[in-house]
């Protein structure tokens, strides 16, 4: 699997995700600068976490207008898979590749801690190594992760099985107790309609080694390798 990781001014988890990909694939991903609208063809595009453009104006708003994102949009419509994490999730929703938006956390503070996620669907490129209903422990680190969509959009993504992960209690109960940011319907990650684009707030790239936060994020990358190699 050949992956591209985008780099915007202010990206800061691009190294983390590049290392996760390298650990799983034994192959370094291509790092693509935000001004590069003509980067080489890859099997996967990753939009990483960070504070692109300082989160000024609105998280992800400026990055969504960059030359590289115009090309990502074009390739995404052709079916190239896109994994968007944290600030990347904010960027791709701003770019219109995923439904909904990420608002300021309900408690108004940055939150960094492990959360529990319930896998809503194993039927995707990104989640095929998980079981539906499986509970994962993966960290979050964000101030704007409060997922919101209007009622029609929410109904549509629920009906079409576009919710990838929900925040839950350690035992898998989805009742709001495990929700770190006030996200609507405890949504932590969503797919586009064709399930070729996935955005999520938690950081699977920081959960790939047992000594460093656990391994629950690793199957996500392993599943991608299997699907895309």
């Amino acid at each position: 699997m050949k992956a591209a990781v985008l780099v915007f001014p202010g990206s800061n988890r691009e190294v983390d995700v590049a290392q996760a990909i390298e650990l799983v694939t034994a192959r370094k991903p291509v790092m693509v600068w935000h001004g590069d609208g003509d980067f080489e063809k890859t099997d996967l595009i990753v939009v990483p976490g960070g504070f692109s453009y300082g989160d000024y104006l609105r998280c992800g708003a400026m990055a969504a207008q960059s030359p590289v994102m115009a090309e990502v949009k074009r390739r995404a419509t052709q079916g190239v898979p896109v994994l968007a994490i944290c600030n990347g999730f904010q960027i791709v929703t701003e770019a219109g590749l995923l439904p909904g938006t990420l608002m300021r956390n309900a408690h108004l503070k940055f939150v960094c801690r492990d959360v529990h996620l319930k896998v809503e669907s194993s039927q995707s490129l990104f989640t095929n190594r998980y079981q539906q209903g499986q509970v994962l422990r993966i960290p979050v680190a964000h101030a704007e992760g409060n997922y919101f969509a209007d009622a029609d959009t929410l109904k549509r993504i629920e009906d079409r099985g576009q919710v990838a992960f929900r925040y839950c209690a350690p035992d898998g109960t989805v009742d709001g107790t495990g929700n770190p940011n006030g996200s609507l319907a405890n949504i932590a990650g969503v797919f586009n309609e064709s399930k070729t684009v996935m955005g999520l707030m938690p950081h699977p790239e920081n959960a790939i080694e047992s000594m460093f936060g656990g391994c629950d994020g690793k199957p996500l990358f392993e599943g991608l390798v299997e699907a895309l190699s």
Partner: protein, 752 residues
């Protein structure tokens, strides 16, 4: 510009006021110091020259009250590459890698404007570390706030924490450790001490000393505005009721720009273009250009009209004294300007050649072709005021007899009260606002061990076995009671905390926060603390490689507790062998290492349960400290220990409770036979040099301890849902945990 022109006296600018005694006083210079200025200059200085003297001779930049004492600290060891005097200290951690680190205060700005004050404190210390060529890999912070009941405290905690998080999170550097205390002595003067640790190859470390006459002087980063003018002078004065009006002297940070600056500097550092580099911190362009030239024994011409400016109408005085953030000064090799310009323009940062090096040993400032400042550099250093201020040592208070301290009437309530008191309550509310996991190298997270532990990535690749243990420590109530003991204890505790995770303690950075040095008793606190620290650093082979002094921490004449914060770094060769303090397994033997006499003087129990702050602090026997620590570290390396926690605030019972709730495993222990101290002294006393370890084969530890002459006793075993001390108390862990975790969020969410 010819040398002859450079020696010309400067012109006075239109509108420039005449120098009066009032203006001199406003610049924080004493009449004596102004006489020195006149002697050096041989004439009346211009305003910009006066401003430069004021900044360079401020306590903050010149260390004029502390210098003679700081010399007493040991600063060398075979692994020390660079001791105090550079932007940060540098130590060799093996495999061609160096750890570069420093701690610095931002106390006054954080009190005046907590968010920006704390944020720019983090920004400043990060620049100190990456200006030397290091990629920062860990941040820590040591915070001291006033009484939680004081009307400003909640606002200050909220703003400082948000500011530290706001800056560090955006920079993408994990904030992995630190400490937060509360005491009424900090009501009018909080402490914000920030520490950064970075990694660089030992053969690619960058220094500030300029070299090469004619080499270009380059300005990069943000534009210069009018913020922070006189910050260094402001932070060298006491607070009074007018301090609020000093808000405009606080700088405003932009972590996004600093992130770009970090990446651009590291990219340039990977080339061979740089001769010297220095960040613009306190006193901005003045101290950076001055220090670079002084360290290189050279002169410098600065064309101030070339400085990128954020505002129109700025004058030379403002440009030289602005403390606008996210700026660097670089001396480039000749002909490398275009290479460097391309890198900084790629990162959308300002880049301007603003001057060049000369052989005149003078700092010459020009403004649209006219000389506006012309100062000889060496005398500003050699003739700088140095004070041996009168000092009176604090006498050692009488030792408090443990029998004279009442035992708790209700043991369970006493433990719950201690675990939920402001100093011991969980600080998760704070560190959950800091990204402590970014970079994916955090092996021991906040609260999971005595020191935080991060993996050292070799050359940016992912697989590594080495870890750095980092901690910050000080027990101000001990230092207040007896500065020598307190200084010794702060170093010893930092050493112990590094040891408790299995790492080898290597070196420290010290952040000396004290009151007004012109008071003999305050200067005596400083002197005493230094004596204690020096002795501990020497015996423990733990040199000081960098540091910062913050004096005049007083408001309305009331000083803070003397607070020499020690930031420490240690290394563990195989990170997989490290241990945290979480008790996660049943059936482990709980072994107490070290001697317990039941020392209650200055203990947290005495303060929290009895409302008394008195007696001598616990003595620190450094030879015993080293022996016990070396034993524990060896046992960890041998794989004998599953969890380890040092004993400090609150003593044995608090340490045990912390281990239990962190790992959700209970214990049952018994008071050891032959123990002469009363139970509350044994369980809450704060004797030094002690550890609790959990081991699968406790007998082997006891045998090894006996062989090494280290006191050790088996207290009981882990297991069950409760913490039980037979015949004394039993508490369910969930009750302890609830009390421990509830206080800070409840306090911060309260609206009274």
């Amino acid at each position: 510009m010819s040398v002859a022109v450079e020696r010309n006296p400067p012109v006075r600018l239109p509108n420039e006021p005449s120098i009066t005694p009032e203006i001199v006083a406003e610049h924080g210079l004493s009449p004596d110091e102004y006489q020195r200025v006149l002697a050096i200059m041989g004439r009346t200085p211009t305003m910009v020259e006066l401003g430069i003297f004021s900044a360079m001779w401020s306590e903050h930049c010149s260390y004029k009250s502390s210098k003679i004492w700081l010399k007493k600290l040991p600063t060398t060891a075979p692994w020390v590459i660079q001791g105090p005097g550079e932007n940060a200290g540098v130590i060799d951690i093996g495999d061609g890698q160096a750890a570069i680190f420093k701690m610095e205060s931002h106390n006054h700005p954080s009190y005046i404007e907590p968010y920006q004050g704390a944020a720019t404190g983090v920004g400043g210390i990060l620049r100190d570390v990456f200006t030397m060529g290091a990629r920062p890999i860990a941040n820590l912070n040591a915070l001291r706030f006033g009484d939680p009941k004081h009307p400003k405290t909640r606002h200050l905690v909220s703003g400082v924490v948000a500011g530290i998080g706001g800056y560090g999170n955006c920079m993408g550097i994990p904030t992995v450790g630190g400490e937060t205390n509360f005491h009424p002595a900090y009501n009018g003067n909080i402490l914000v001490n920030a520490m950064t640790v970075g990694i660089a190859p030992t053969n690619r470390i960058f220094y500030a000393a300029a070299a090469g006459v004619g080499n270009p002087l380059v300005y990069v980063g943000s534009k210069t505005g009018r913020d922070g003018i006189h910050g260094a002078t402001m932070s060298s004065a006491e607070f009074n009721e007018d301090s609020e009006s000093k808000r405009p002297t606080v700088q405003v940070g932009d972590p996004f720009v600093e992130k770009l600056l970090l990446e651009a500097c590291l990219e340039l550092m990977a080339t061979d273009a740089i001769v010297a580099i220095q960040d613009m911190g306190a006193a901005g362009l003045t101290s950076s250009s001055f220090e670079m030239a002084a360290k290189g024994g050279l002169g410098v011409v600065v064309e101030l009209d070339k400085v990128p400016m954020r505002e129109t109408g700025m004058n030379p005085y403002e440009l030289m004294l602005s403390e606008s953030q996210e700026r660097m000064l670089i001396v480039l090799k000749p002909g490398r300007e275009e290479l460097a310009r391309r890198i900084f323009e790629k990162w959308e940062l300002d880049f301007a050649v603003i001057g060049r090096l000369t052989d005149t040993e003078r700092m010459v400032l020009s403004w649209h072709g006219e000389i506006v400042g012309n100062i000889p550099i060496p005398p500003l250093v050699t003739e700088a005021p140095v004070y041996e201020r009168p000092w009176t040592l604090t006498p050692l208070p009488a030792v408090l007899d443990a029998a004279a301290v009442p035992a708790p009437k209700d043991w369970r309530a006493s433990l719950l009260a201690l675990m939920s008191c402001p100093d011991l309550a969980s600080k998760a509310w704070i560190w959950n606002q800091y990204d402590h996991l970014i970079m994916g190298n955090t092996a021991i997270r906040p609260q999971d061990g005595d020191a935080a532990l991060v993996r050292v990535p070799p050359d940016g690749s992912h697989i590594g076995h080495k870890g750095l243990a980092v901690t910050s420590d000080c027990t101000p109530r001990y230092v207040q009671a007896h500065p020598e003991t307190g200084g010794r204890q702060a170093v010893a505790e930092a050493w112990r905390n590094i040891t408790a995770v299995g790492a080898r303690p290597l070196a420290v950075t010290d952040n000396m926060n004290f009151g007004n040095p012109q008071k003999p008793e305050i200067m005596g606190q400083f002197a005493g603390a230094i004596m204690g620290m020096a002795e501990a650093c020497k015996v423990l082979d733990f040199p000081v490689v960098s540091g910062n002094v913050s004096l005049y921490n007083e408001t309305e004449g009331r000083p803070i507790l003397p607070t020499p914060t020690i930031g420490a770094v240690g290394v563990i060769d195989d990170i997989a062998k490290a241990v945290g303090s979480r008790l996660t397994q049943s059936g482990l033997g709980i072994v107490l290492i070290g001697q317990t006499t039941g020392w209650l003087g200055q203990s947290l129990y005495l303060r929290e349960a009895c409302g008394r702050e008195e007696g001598a602090p616990p003595p620190v026997d450094l030879v015993v400290e080293r022996r016990n620590g070396n034993f524990v570290r060896a046992q960890i390396a041998a794989g004998q220990i599953k969890a380890c926690h040092d004993l400090s605030d609150g003593g044995l019972l608090v340490a045990l409770a912390e281990m239990c709730i962190a790992g959700s495993t209970g214990v049952e222990i018994a008071m050891p036979a032959g123990q002469t101290a009363p139970p509350h002294a044994f369980l809450y006393g704060e004797d030094q040099g002690r550890y609790l370890v959990a081991a699968g084969s406790p007998d082997e530890i006891l045998d090894a301890a006996a062989a090494a002459g280290v006191p050790a006793m088996l207290l009981g075993y882990s297991g069950g849902p409760s913490l039980t001390v037979k015949g004394v108390l039993s508490l369910e862990l969930r009750d302890i945990k609830a009390a421990h975790e509830a206080w800070l969020p409840a306090y911060m969410n309260a609206t009274d």
